[in-house]
Symmetry: C2
Amino acid sequence: MNAHPMWVNGQPSEEGWPFDRALHFGDGLFETLIVRAGRIRFRALHQARLAEGCARLGIAIDHDRVWRDVDAAATTAGLVKLIVSRGIATARGYAPSGSELARHLIFSYPHSPQHETVGFKVVTLQALLGENPLLAGIKHLNRLEQVMARLQMSGLSADEGLMASSSGPLISGTMSNVFVLHKGHLMTPRIDRCGVAGVLRAITLREAARMEWTVTQADLPLSILDDCEGLFVTNVRWGIQPATVLNGRSLDQNRQIDVLRTRVESLVE
Amino acid sequence: MNAHPMWVNGQPSEEGWPFDRALHFGDGLFETLIVRAGRIRFRALHQARLAEGCARLGIAIDHDRVWRDVDAAATTAGLVKLIVSRGIATARGYAPSGSELARHLIFSYPHSPQHETVGFKVVTLQALLGENPLLAGIKHLNRLEQVMARLQMSGLSADEGLMASSSGPLISGTMSNVFVLHKGHLMTPRIDRCGVAGVLRAITLREAARMEWTVTQADLPLSILDDCEGLFVTNVRWGIQPATVLNGRSLDQNRQIDVLRTRVESLVE
């Protein structure tokens, strides 16, 4: 492929990057990893999700080597972003030829300042998530829906925006999973048609179960947001972040959610 | 962003490409352009679609300069692929900062051999298209659905695969639009929830109208494929390609479709 002439902003270019399938099609996966005491938190769950994504997309890569390189980066970072691309295209068109060489990109960032106060302003967005079971759950590189959602949030002074899928139900935040406390029941959306199987979502489900708190994974109508007693969003960077304001409505803080939050925050794994 | 350390396959890298938002999120657009006699065919329609895509995604770029560079590449190419990326990330996360500098990539390919015989084997695929009105119609870089669809086609010995959207209706081929002749009526799917507003789709609608042939844009159930009299797929590379075999069923060739095909093929614009 590189034998074909190409230009970037009018200047001739022959290098490999412009031919990478991650750039042409979003043909790859990523993980956002939090470092604590020099180690990746919840490393095993990130590994499992990446492996699942590679299996679904049919991307072969040396996972041991990838995670060795991640561990090396973690010794000096606060946050590590990992991208796995199917690699440079070896033929034109959508179909992989099978002879691509997958590659991994590791980005190191310093410790980002924690949100000093616990408690988010959360709003519901108009932007929708398309439903596609083949891509649901995995953290692939097709993220324009999230880009559009975050563009919609500019000027709203909200910390996170909630999104429904095209057929109606609540799915997730733009960069988080969501849990809703409604009539005493803790619920979280199914993520088998769209949405990401968040690592902190899995941790939250597991820790809630250990507290003997049943969490239902279900189709949740958006209208549940009108009369829920509590709501929190989760990702590995935020942990469990309870909403203090939801679509302009103040929410009382729930003691049991706070216990769960503290429990998850203190996990060492 | 480039100040942050990063590694590619374990090797330190400081260059710009790994930070491009097209690679991280598929945050950009593309056009596949056919050259005839040194000029881009249907250039005005490609320009309009790219401009619409940039407006929807909020990507600012000098369109005159982009198309001047495309024209320069066209003098020696048979097929030109144009990518417009929002550019290198200037902040972490999905939200554009607004200070990104969009860039355009132009790839030149030789004339690809035409399909020598007119007539495609077409199959219906299981892979679905997610519905998202914000992204419908434009030719953005989130193309994993097409990659997955083309992976499903390997081993099927079909020229093109048809896809439905998550709510059921027929939408398009993996890299083409689709028209169906059913009980004497020519119909093509709506593309306002997903699918691409193909340049050759627009040309086909226009030329059919000039032949006083009404084409209905509608919700078409997949079952229409079971008893349609004719079907063709369109893109600028294939032109109008009638299906000779649809899901294993032979289709008689329709004289009026052939007239339309020849008419579109002979257009000079």
